[in-house]
Symmetry: none
Subunit: 192 residues, 4 copies
């Protein structure tokens, strides 16, 4: 059991190192040797846990994406009104983007560049299924604009990614007021 735990720890350390380094330098500019060093293992050890570099990033991506989805819908309950439900989900996403910005920056990079295998990325926004369902209901109830989910996503969810990046790259600090303002904009953009 101690041994198994040690293995899991190493795998986690590798995933963590991958996220941090890929965030700072990008996939191709991150050598396996650096990942190994940061995780305190030998480069050869990586290959006990992952098939190759691509596999390492793919698995990291899937793992982070799962963390994201789990977090986002943890408190969600389908029985609320559309607006309440949306606010709930939106705020969780915002919280994730702000508090776990290492994760969200990584996800964002994977979504915007060709470093992830097609199959892994093609999954697209389907992992947000409960949100899509909510929108569906909202459209039927006449609360949400009857437009493509892609557009709804582009205007209500994706801006958070931009704000997260802006916060990381420019001299812009997101505070509580900003989040409220952002939510209003999000809701305004999709509400009927």
């Amino acid at each position: 059991m101690a041994k198994l735990q040690k293995s899991i720890d190493k795998r986690n350390a590798l995933i963590k190192a991958t996220i941090e380094l890929v965030n700072n330098s990008g996939f191709h500019a991150t050598p396996m040797s650096k990942i190994a060093k940061m995780a305190n293992v030998s480069p050869a050890t990586i290959y006990l846990y992952f098939e190759n570099k691509q596999d390492l990033v793919n698995q990291t991506y899937l793992e982070v994406k799962t963390k994201y989805t789990d977090f986002v819908f943890k408190t969600y309950d389908e029985s609320t009104s559309v607006k309440t439900g949306f606010e709930l989900i939106w705020k969780r996403i915002a919280e994730f983007n702000i508090n776990e910005c290492e994760y969200s920056f990584f996800l964002n990079q994977c979504n915007n560049t060709p470093i992830i295998d097609e199959p892994s990325r093609k999954e697209g926004i389907r992992h947000l299924q409960p949100l899509l369902d909510l929108w569906e209901r909202g459209k039927k109830e006449g609360v949400i604009k009857p437009i493509s989910d892609y557009i709804l996503y582009a205007y209500s969810i994706n801006p958070l990614s931009y704000l997260m990046i802006a916060q990381k790259q420019y001299e812009f600090q997101l505070n509580k007021t900003h989040v409220e303002e952002a939510f209003l904009s999000a809701w305004d953009s999709i509400k009927r």
Copy 2:
């Protein structure tokens, strides 16, 4: 002059090749030799026009960004109303994103990953100064929400980047109706 033209042609061919290859494979997965081959020059020739690979991408970035800004504000006239001015600019940006998606995909990749020198990227959204000025006026006139430009940008402009990527990566086709719908969302999200 024929000679000068030939030089300009080569430089342009190199920039064009850089955009296409970086779009498809990313910065680090794009060897200089491939860029050279696609531009029909020798690898050594690149170094007559650019200091090194980083410089090549930086200059490409600046060039594309200039094209973008030039296009976006070409028809803009400060004397219009805020809403009209915004619609004008927004639609130009949309047009650029859709028709010159090679360019916008490249810009987006540069903005979201660490492939560009800090100085070039740090500039943020300042290159859209006329738009920022317009928003300033809008806030004073009480037409635009009195919130940070970053948020305004995140909700009214950045979604177009997402839609452009969605169009490239998923099975989503942007048509004229979509653009109108998107504009409404954009305006709704920032109007007071």
Copy 3:
């Protein structure tokens, strides 16, 4: 005793795996881990039985060579005539080459390439001493050509190795008639 038998079994399994893998891929293209897997033991276990990879192959070579010599001279009896004795030995060698081609292919590969330690290989054809003695007698009796044993070997014994390889690599199938024909050629080439 059960324990001892288990040990011997493991050692044999390792030798068997070594032969098969080296035959198919060559010495250096055969990782210890593969040998271990095929023998159903851990890589570390190999080092309980052999000092290192070189030692494993050397011992395998010696073991196979012993099998070869034992088989070849098992039915031999020095009291026969030279021709009868030669036929007896030759046919045993042929039988070994054909029926135990895994073994002979391995021996051949060791003899023709630098994968075996010099000392092991330098021994040359001395392991066939009874045959050399028979030839000596044959030369004295005027039945065998009075030429170097190396030449006698090259023309009467070594061709079998070639035929064995030809059978494995090309579309040539050795049948009983071929063997008889081959024996005639062998005898013709060394008889006075």
Copy 4:
């Protein structure tokens, strides 16, 4: 032209180094870096002339084999008697084996191990077509035993490879008398 010559020189140096090093250590025990060093070029330069290590060895094999065939049949003339023709070819092969033993050792190693691509090796003994034709004629004339070419080759030609190896590995020196004796054995083994 000076440049072209330099290129050819480099390629030749690489082929020469490959032969020598593979002869002494085998394919897999010969690092590209060693080949490069012996040929006085950078490891990277090898890849200007050959696709990869396998390609380097394949091309080396084909080149050497061509040298072999060219040499063997250079003086051959189909109009002679079968025996004279055979003696002519045989002695050229012997000469090649003795004088160019680097080449023949290399060929032998390639023929006996799985280091060469199947296609390259599968060609088998077909490159000796004129000799096969001569044998055909000999069989029709009743001068040569009516047996498989593989057996004829095994007994008349292949022994030279063994003698060449014996000379290299053991304390056996081939002199003129040996060659004559060997030829007699060769002829005896295939003549009717």
